[in-house]
């Protein structure tokens, strides 16, 4: 698909706040994975390196998910017993 010029990957500057626009652009580019992919493709990534990276990312995603669930469990509000385990 052809990306339209100055429509895609574009942030308008409002109130002459250029810094805000740049930060927004960087954040979107980073969260979409453009910047990581750009950095990764500067040099050839050997297949072993790629496997290692992908495995690491998988493990990290699983760990993050578990940890997120744990934290939300500990920080939950409106629980029947307000301080579980404390007498």
């Amino acid at each position: 698909m052809k990306h339209l010029k100055f429509i895609s990957r574009t942030v308008l500057v409002r109130n002459e706040n250029v810094d805000e626009a740049c930060r927004m652009l960087n954040r979107i580019m980073g969260s979409e994975g453009f910047l990581d992919q750009y950095r990764r493709t500067r040099f050839y990534e050997k297949p072993t390196q790629m496997r290692r990276r992908v495995n690491y990312e998988k493990c990290k995603a699983i760990y993050d998910e578990d940890m997120k669930r744990k934290i939300s469990f500990v920080l939950r509000t409106n629980r029947p017993e307000p301080f579980p385990g404390c007498y």
């Binding site: 574009t10 942030v11 500057v13 740049c22 652009l25 580019m29 750009y38 500067r42 040099f43």
Partner: protein, 199 residues
Amino acid sequence: MFGRILRDFCRRPALLDGQNVSRYLHVTLPSEKNRDRRSYLASVPSKDEGTEGEKFVYIDSAITKKEDMFPDVNTPNMLFGAVKFSEVPICHIKSSSNNTILHVTKANGERIMIRSCGMEGFKNTRKGTNIAAQATAISLAARVLELGIHTVRVKIQGLGPGRMSSIKGLTMGGLKIISVTDNTPVSWNPLRSRKQRKL
């Protein structure tokens, strides 16, 4: 700590077949070396790639509304001082790790002015700094203002120290920036790139 204990332990003469043979096992140097490298790497400031705001969110920007920050169908026809958005001159910025090139063109791509850190008088590694990029941008802005161009759209390409600082320089030089576009060439099925650097 572990290295020191082991070293003291190994300094004692060991008894082998009734004769004193003192042996040394050196572990301090490799372990200290490793630690030195780690502390050195921790103390080195991270490389400036002009990607401020990629990892951290500023609270004031997170709570404001963002609907009017993104272009839509009507954006090309929006007027900026009696000029349509699609006809405003473009400032192309190519920032690499070693240099920054700023290039102001008309909307159709005709060249108006080109400046780079090397042309500005910075040589060798000094070209690839954010200060050089900012100085270049300021001088470019001054030259372009003389030609009667006051508003530009910015198109950035590549990651490098000049990515953010050149935009800052343009605003400091007096140009009005109405939009920021990223034009970094990113491919998900790229050609084989050059081999890794050996460090």
